[in-house]
Every structure is written in C-alpha cells, then in structure tokens.
Amino acid sequence: MSNDSATGMELLVIVVKTHHQVEEILTGFLELGIRGATVADVRGMGQIISMEIPIFTGFKSLFPGWGTDTHMILSVVDAASRQKAVEVGREVCGDFSSPGSGILFTLPINHAEGLSEEIG
C-alpha cells in the first residue's frame, strides 16, 4: 500500500506512562477498526536527567533502560479515524493537561508503504 499526503493519512503518536494504558488504548483502537500500531519502550527527558537512585535494585540498574515504564504508541490513521483515536487516548489518559499524564499529537504523512488495511 502506498499513500501520498493527498490521501490524508496521519501519524498518531501517544506517549503513556504504564503498560496498562497501552493495552487499553490498543483495545480501543481495535474497536475502531485500527489494527496497526507500533509500541516502543522509551525514556523521557525527565527520566534521563533525574536522579534515579537504586536502593534495593542495584543489580537491575546495571541494565540499560531499567526503572522506566514509558511507552510510545505509533499508529498511522486516516482522517476519519483520527478524531476517534484521539478520543480513545483521552478516555484512557485524561485530557493530557496535567503533567505526567502523557502526550498526544499527530503529524501529516507525506508517503507511506506497508500499512495494513483497516478492519471492517
């Protein structure tokens, strides 16, 4: 599948703080018919510069990425699904206005290949 910007596809990016929120959002996406999303474990700026001091978890701190539980969901959606997908994000994370509740934004896509067809 190949899409140009004229097709109106957008990249929806949602950054959430727990694995549980990821599951809820992906379940919501499936109900909307969006069946493609990529989830990455990421670290926020605050998590990198803050003093994460191990007290009992010294061994775990030897491994990169320890102590972080932030996830980034990437999904390419069309204009019709975008608003509903944003609503799913708001239902799970709140309205994103309070600090630490997560981040949501969309970007226009100029060109895309390899996307799955939506369900239904």
Binding site: H20, M51, I55, F56, T57, G58, S61
Partner: protein, 402 residues
C-alpha cells in the same frame, strides 16, 4: 488508637513528601548531598518523632503498626528478589559472581569472628553465636546507592572495574539475607509442626525456602491472568503481607522468604517485568517509612551501642577492604581492577536499616534495642565517610579496561 492513626498519618505524609522533596540537592557539597540523597536524614526525623522527643511514634504505637513492618520487610525482600533472573546474573563473567561471594564472605568472617569473641567475653553463653551471625550477615551487605550516585555524578571512564563494583553491591545482599535467615532459624529450639526432632534450625530454613518458593509461584500464577493495574497491586500487596506476616508469626525472616518468592517469580515465564515496575515506583516511599520507623526505635543514648558501632565499623571496613583485595588479586579477572575495590562497597544505607528492623522484630538477637542502636549509629557514621572512600576507588579505576 488516636495516636496510632496519627502516627500512621505522619508516616504516610513524611513518606510522600520526602519522596518528592528529598532526593535532589544539586548545589550542596558532595558529602552532605549524598547523605541527603540516600535519605539517611529520615533516621533523624524518626528519632525526633519517637519517644525521646515528640512522642508521636512511641513504642506502643510502633508495636501497633506491626502490619506496616511486615509489609515493608516483605516489600524489600520481594523487590530485591525480583531482579535476580539467573539468565541476567550469569550474563556477567563468573568471576564477578565469585568476587561477590569472596568479598562478602570475608567481610562476614571478620565481623562475625570479632562479635562472637566479644559477646563470648561478655556473656560466655554459646547462644551469642546467633546475634554474632546476624550482625555478620548485616555487615556483608553493601548498598548500591552511593556507587550509582558517584558514577552518575563523576561520569568516570567506562570500565569493567565499575561494572564489577556495581555488580557486587547489587548482589551481595543475597548472602546477607541468607545468613540472616539462618540466624532467625537457629533461634528455634523446636522443629516445625510434624517435623522430626532433629536439627530444628535446618528444618525451619528449609521451610522458609519452601514457603518463599510457594509464594513466588502463587504470584506467578496470579499475574498470569490479564489484570488491570489495581488488581495487580492487590495481588502483590496480598502476597507481600501474607508472606511477611506468616514469616514474622513463625519468627522467620520476612526479607529472606520474600526474596526467595521474588527469585522464584523472576525465573518463571510471565509478566515479572510488569510486577517489578509496579512495585519499583514505591521503593523510595517504603524506604523513607522504614528509615523513620528505625529512627523512632533508635536509642542513641545507649553508650554500649555506640561502642559496639565502633567495633562494627572497624571490622566491617577491614573486612570489605581485605575481601576486595583478595577478590581483586586472586581471581583470574580478564582486566585489572584496583585492589581498593572494597572502599567502594562500604555504604549500607537502606539494606542495613531493613535488616536492623527485621532483627528488632524477629528477635534473632537477645537484646534487639542494643543491636538496632549499634547498627543505626554505624550506618549514620558510615554514610558520612563512605562516599569519599568510594570516590577514591573510582579515581583509581580510570585506567582499567575490560
């Protein structure tokens, strides 16, 4: 009742406020800053809240807060055990593991021998073996906090020596918790129900391991089902309170039992990372609650406690330095490591406090007040000089390569 509720509220507020405020002191001189970053000041806050000053957390109140102790001790054991996936432990060279056992074992022998001799001179009873064993077990544990802070602040050249010291500081608590559990089991003069009438201590130890493994397997089963964050918390807290409570009831070590549960859960397939992350976020509030409670039961006026703290500091420091020296020179490591590696392992902080509170509750020592006074005094002094010692090791590690 009113005082218990007030005490619990004070603990809760201090833990939440302290968690937000106490772990950042960017502009202060390093020694003082590290003292605050490890949360050691909460011992002094606990002392102020205890019966010697404000009286908000007096003895009867602390006794009524027993479930908080079983929750806290169980929490520390579980979070420590959950890190220990065998595959990850063995991802490092086997010499790392040997170094850890050698330095911790030598430190234990130094401290145990001195205290056994000392108690024997004072008491003359063979029962002094048990408190000496418990003190030796506490001594062999190191806190990873100071090394992690120094590595973060000084950004030394990446070298295997620093990985080695972080590995040792992260894992030597295994030996400490195990020896500590042995001390708790040796207190028992009669075997467990239905057990044969020989070697009661060994039987209680086997029971501790079996119970911990059972709890770990139960945690694994419960977290296999798809559950929300709140349900996950209920499962984890339930396992911790049950394991900790049963251990305290039978005078076993909750730290050891839940460590075994954590190791069991960590080495079974499933959502152990999710469990770890769920409880990891609460590590600092729990740590603060324990520091405050330890400060509240501390009797700084016990002169004998201060004298014993001097012996403890001397023998532990000598043990760590000699243990590090032996590990660095005798083991066929594939890289050069500073013989002063023991200097980086002097900090104890939360690990020693948790064990002191376990000692206080489980009665592994004949005089828990004295032992707690000794350990807390030693930790306070230790946290003042251990950063400078660790810095010395790190400075000597710059030229080492993997």
């Amino acid at each position: 009742m009113f005082q218990t509720v007030t005490g619990a509220l004070v603990l809760l507020i201090a833990a939440l406020a302290g968690y937000r405020r106490s772990f950042a002191r960017p502009g202060w001189p390093q020694g003082i800053r590290f003292f605050f970053l490890t949360g050691t000041q909460f011992l002094l806050i606990g002392l102020a809240l205890g019966e010697h000053f404000l009286g908000l957390l007096d003895r009867p109140t602390i006794e009524r807060l027993g479930p908080v102790f079983s929750l806290g001790l169980g929490y520390f054991g579980l979070i420590f055990g959950l890190q220990l996936e065998f595959e990850k432990v063995l991802r490092f060279p086997l010499q790392f593991l040997s170094s850890m056992f050698i330095q911790a074992g030598i430190t234990f022998l130094f401290v145990f021998t001195l205290f056994f001799w000392l108690f024997h001179q004072l008491d003359g009873s063979p029962a002094v073996f048990i408190p000496a064993l418990a003190i030796g077990a506490v001594a062999c544990c190191s806190s990873p906090t100071i090394v992690a802070l120094l590595v973060r602040e000084t950004k030394p050249v990446k070298c295997a020596g620093i990985d080695l010291i972080r590995y040792i500081a992260g894992l030597d608590t295994i030996l400490g918790f195990t020896l500590f559990a042995a001390a708790a089991c040796l207190v028992h003069t009669s075997p467990p129900p239905l057990g044969p009438a020989c070697l009661p201590g060994l039987q209680w130890m086997v029971l501790s391991i079996a119970f911990g493994m059972g709890m770990g397997y139960l945690l694994h089963l419960l977290t296999q089902t798809h559950c929300g964050e709140n349900e996950l918390w209920v499962f984890i807290i339930g396992i911790i309170i049950f394991s900790g409570g049963v251990s305290l009831f039978f005078d076993l070590s909750p730290l050891f039992v839940t460590m075994v549960a954590g190791i069991t859960a960590a080495n079974l397939p499933g959502s152990k990372d999710r469990v770890f992350m769920a409880i990891f976020r609460q590590e600092k509030p729990f740590h603060i609650v324990f520091l405050i409670l330890a400060g509240a039961v501390w009797q700084p006026g016990l002169v004998s406690g201060l004298v014993l703290a001097g012996f403890y500091l001397f023998s532990r420091t000598a043990g760590k330095i000699c243990g590090g020296l032996v590990a660095a020179s005798w083991l066929p490591l594939r890289f050069q490591v500073s013989p002063l590696i023991g200097l980086g392992l002097l900090s104890q902080s939360g690990v020693a406090i948790a064990m002191a509170m376990d000692l206080y509750l489980s009665g592994s020592g004949s005089n828990p007040d004295l032992l707690v006074a000794m350990l807390i005094s030693a930790v306070l002094v230790n946290e003042l000089f251990s950063p400078a010692m660790a810095r010395r090791f790190l400075a000597g590690s710059r030229g080492e390569t993997a």
